[in-house]
Symmetry: C2
Subunit: 202 residues, 2 copies
DNA sequence: CTTGCAAGTGAGTGATTACTTACTTGCAAG
DNA sequence: CTTGCAAGTAAGTAATCACTCACTTGCAAG
């Protein structure tokens, strides 16, 4: 299963470290993962990691960058493929859920960073990610409003908050139950309920 | 500000440790809080803590027990004071939000425990708490259904999930922004949107 | 008074962790 | 070939943490 050809360029090792960290984060809290854990999972000595990242924080920063790129790309693709703003909301919702079903370490990692107290650069980065997410939601909600698809007078900030909350609720539920079984089906039901409160009456 | 009369019975110290731990958890991740931090916040030597709890895990377990008692009590009081099932949902929602506005350490603490991987007794305890919460939600939703107040065919599991998600979304938003300002106002807006998707049409 | 014990102190202790360093090894260009 | 350097190793190191232990102190009952 193992038997990597050893000796690999820094660029490849950096990517490998990011994916390994994320994979391990699916199982336990990201902050509890030691550099020894990562090295062991890569069949590498612990010291070797520091040839590719100066500190452990730099590794976590690279993980956030990876998540940001991947998630926003999926959201944009989902929106682009939709035929109406309300359809775009559904596509983005399910794309997000599918993303963390495919990478269960992602939400655990993000939550771990958010719990950090201070203004660490890492938390700042997560804050940026969420801000961009909200921008995209606001754009779709505005478009839906303009098309008369959602009730007039709807509070867009509340609609965005409930959208994110619905996803976070599903994530937390999977963390409590320890499994993602049935998650996608429930995601569809929850989104249906969400959009019911949003849509204009026929 | 300090100057406690030293020498206090174990029972009082246990309660003090729980509240101190919770107070410190408002600022940083609960798992990062050391026994030295707690002792210092209590004007006590670190070793003294272990006269009152055998391990740090026992302290955290006591915190969960405190949260469970307080939260469920508030939920039950909120429900009892409401005049209809839908009103009960609103009262429970706002009671929960008010609870963590009053004790910002609570959600941080719970999230921290949930992130733990294994079947630790602590995580099991949190799971129980959430199960009891869901029981109460299910009871109110059933009552609302029986009274014809919510749309026929509504998925109760999804409704409960979205209810919890709405709250968790507000919590996470406050963790991102680092403040609870405007939280209650937004809680009312979010609940309004939630209940709009739920209520039967006139 | 005294005396017994719960409560507190402060100096350990071993385990763990991120990071360093002195040294080795493979590989590709000259 | 050789030679220079990026990539890897293994054994540190200082810091931190939960927990222990030998000892002290205040307090309340007899």
């Amino acid at each position: 299963m193992t038997a990597k050809p050893s000796r690999q360029p820094t660029e490849d090792r950096q990517a490998e470290i990011v994916l390994t960290l994320l994979r391990l984060a699916a199982g336990r809290s990201a902050l509890d993962i030691t550099t020894s854990d990562i090295a062991q999972a890569m069949n590498l000595s612990q010291g070797a990691l520091f040839r590719h990242f100066p500190t452990k924080e730099a590794m976590r920063l690279a993980v956030v960058a990876w998540i940001e790129t991947e998630l926003l790309q999926r959201l944009d693709a989902a929106r682009a493929s939709a035929s109406s703003p309300v359809d775009a909301l559904r596509a983005m919702f399910l794309a997000h859920v599918d993303f963390f079903i495919a990478h269960p370490g992602v939400p655990r990692f993000i939550f771990g960073e958010l719990q950090q107290a201070d203004r660490t650069p890492l938390k700042e980065r997560v804050r940026e990610l969420m801000a961009r997410y909200r921008e995209r939601l606001a754009a779709v909600l505005d478009a839906a409003s303009a098309a008369g698809l959602i009730r007039p007078g709807t509070d867009h900030a509340a609609a965005a908050a409930l959208f994110l909350g619905a996803i976070q609720g599903l994530v937390i539920q999977s963390m409590v139950s320890g499994s993602v079984d049935g998650m996608r089906a429930q995601a569809e039901a929850v989104f249906g309920l969400y959009v019911q409160g949003l849509e204009a009456q026929p």
